[in-house]
Symmetry: C2
């Protein structure tokens, strides 16, 4: 039996194009609506926030969009990322399944986020922009944009959800090491932040609030644009390099995934690993099940209706159709800070409506347990977000065992947990619980959904 | 011009043997002496602490020692580690030098330490040992042995230097995630620890003290052996996989290093990258300069005499001839906890006497500055220990610039700084200073050197 654990590709195999699943959709995405008129927005409506190159990517129907060489040259620092066969995990689970994971923790900031951060910084620099403002949850995205800012000479301002800002001072330190400015959100720096603090002085923040702050700062300054780390079509497309590389690596392993698992906050890492394979299925019928795993405390895909909603709390963004818990929903302060978004990427939401993907929700304790099993078997301590994907993969592997089926499971290990050690300490010390969302707060947030679409 | 940044090898290129520089030495190592008799020790004298397989490696004169397949199978999880060409750093420095770095931060615990931890755990398990006790400075070694213990089913006890135990709670959490027990040293658990605490209740500890504690615990229990993370010949030999892989990767780059740089605490990562190349020089005269970089606050190679000394503070170990600051020397609590050892590997010390390597010392502020420059250029935040190697490489690159020489520089980036963010925060906040060692304490420690050899 082969003992090979790693499937490595050299730099020449970094994809030359991103994959855009919009080209293969059986039904197009619902339009993005202007919040004032309720009419479909025009590309020019987005121009105060984004460079035209990214706006074009947002609505592109091209299957392949060329990756600019300066972006590929930065990708070379960590891409192609390795694909691992989790042989020791398979043994620990005594499963006949073949488990593979794509490991994005090898990037400069330890997650998949630089795949789009570098691209966004490049296009903004090309458009003459000097500063980007953004939000961050656990800090993965903020540090990725900080890194990209250093590379392309852009100033970076990060509004970091307050609960994570407090839990993860080292993520802030990493952003600062890359030269970025990091502010706890809600802050006193914006109208949106001040409005929240007036009503809830102790607010621990949410991605929705932080987005409002970052959008407000970008909209009010000529030299500043806004950057989003997930949700939008162009962001998901930039992440397709994950799945496109994984396709080549599964071929090296002489295998093809029966099941693909990713965790979902805004949806980008799940889309990155799954969409290229779903594209194959759409074009030639190659069977694959794609499973999106989310936290039970923020159950967007599994509990949220598919409806038009705002991307942010202060309602500064356009209206997009997505699975949502309501833009004012604030999930409990659980440790997977990167999965605390009230909405879900329109593309991921749309695919669920088309029954092209499945979704499920897990509690945080069972995810930390899965992550600990994985760490002892494979030697990598996953980020709390990634533990959701680990848990999903382990459950599928155990189902294979129960059914005596030797299926092939591929999951995205989207980041390492080196900046999340306090969460592991709390878990080992028995201080974590399965905080659920507040049902009445969810009902209220859902009642506030705008009546359009 | 090629844009390639990474030189990757597949698992088949993991070396099948370790390289033992003792086979190529122009003069043999001075004997290890029994502390009671002053006579050369016998292998059996070491049997209470180490399995015979490792004792044989310690004194072996074979050039190549086969790596057991179960060890190679675990190496597959991260080895061969990547070799990078630091093109963006070269550009930032405007140097004609070609700078390469071997990156050991891809290992399960983020440093080179698992290379020997896995081997030591394997041989101890083979010998029927059930528990290993050890010391750790910054926690890199302790977490590496904790990982290896999980792999081979050994209980691990780690005595962690108190200053690092306090500075790095997350390293402790990682050890615990891998199932190890971690104790702040000096502790009340051992005679050696209690003796130090009686005299210095506020002692922040030292590697010498922690070694005494771990050795004492191993010596008093039948089922327990001791494991050391550096200094000893067999440890340095296990690290030779670094340099042996780098040789293959430099060949892929169609280059050969003129200069090799590594940081030195006990000496193992420097030996790992440099010894295979020094072996080439000894056998066929291929020119290479090897530079060992140490902290000015613990300047073993640059300021310590070459003399017989104990490896630990309580004088439980044999006497080895090495560059030493005296076994009672306690360096100031600077942040590169992995470089705080009072002595230096006998092999590294011997090579310096034979003028086969050079050494130099840097202050911590200039090392953090170098690490920050590196992080912004290459996207990897180095461990404070590794910053010493970065500083050495940058200085050599700037000398190339001044002299108009396009030399090839290879350094070992022995670990990432994800568990050292507080040190970076302190550095950015201007809270770090260039703490020097206490001259009178050094003089006293040197006056206490044993009068043998």
């Amino acid at each position: 039996m082969s003992k090979q654990l790693k499937y490595l590709l050299d730099e020449e195999h970094i994809p030359r194009s991103w994959y855009n699943i919009q080209a293969d959709l059986p039904e197009p995405l619902p339009a993005i609506l202007h919040p004032g008129t309720g009419e479909p927005i025009q590309p020019s409506d987005l121009a105060p926030l984004f460079p035209m190159a990214l706006i074009e990517q947002e609505v592109s129907q091209e299957r392949l969009v060329e990756i600019p060489e300066p972006v590929r040259d930065i990708y070379r620092h960590w891409r192609p990322s390795p694909l691992f066969r989790a042989r020791r995990l398979e043994q620990a689970l005594e499963t006949p399944a073949r488990i593979y994971y794509k490991y994005e923790g090898v990037s400069p900031v330890g997650s998949h986020k630089p795949n789009t951060a570098v691209a966004q910084a490049f296009y903004n620099r090309e458009a003459g922009i000097e500063r980007l403002s953004t939000e961050t949850g656990a800090g993965q995205w903020g540090s990725a944009l900080a890194y990209a800012g250093t590379i392309f000479g852009l100033a970076i301002e990060v509004y970091m959800v307050k609960v994570s800002f407090r839990q993860k001072p080292y993520r802030k330190a990493m952003m600062e090491a890359f030269g970025a400015r990091c502010v706890a959100s809600p802050s006193e720096e914006t109208r949106a932040g001040r409005a929240v603090l007036e009503e809830h002085p102790d607010s621990t923040g949410s991605l929705g609030i932080a987005i409002s702050e970052a959008v407000e700062r970008a909209a009010e300054r000529e030299d500043t644009n806004y950057a989003l780390g997930s949700v939008l079509n162009h962001v998901l497309m930039h992440q397709s390099v994950i799945g496109m590389e994984a396709e080549q690596q599964m071929e090296m392993a002489d295998d093809y995934p029966d099941i693909i698992v990713g965790c979902t906050g805004g949806g980008s890492n799940f889309a990155g690993i799954a969409f290229p394979f779903i594209g194959n299925k759409l074009r030639d019928g190659t069977g694959v099940r794609a499973i999106a795993v989310e936290p039970a405390a923020c159950p967007t895909l599994t509990r949220g209706p598919y409806a038009y909603d705002f991307g942010d709390t202060a309602h500064l963004t356009p209206l997009v159709k997505m699975h949502t818990l309501g833009s004012t929903f604030v999930p409990p302060g659980f440790h997977a800070g990167g999965l605390r978004y009230h909405g879900m990427a329109p593309l991921v939401s749309h695919l669920q409506e088309l029954q092209l993907i499945e979704s499920r929700a897990y509690n945080q304790l069972e995810c930390f347990e899965a992550g600990s099993i994985f760490a002892r078997a494979e030697g990598i301590l996953p980020a709390p977000e990634a533990n959701h994907a680990v848990k999903g993969a382990i459950d599928e592997a155990l189902r294979c065992k129960a059914e005596g089926q030797a299926r092939s499971i591929l999951f995205n290990l989207c980041g390492h947990g080196h900046f999340d050690m306090q969460a592991y300490i709390d878990y080992f010390d028995g201080k974590l619980s399965d905080e659920d969302h507040d049902a009445s707060e969810l009902a209220m947030a859902l009642a506030g959904l705008p009546s359009v679409g």
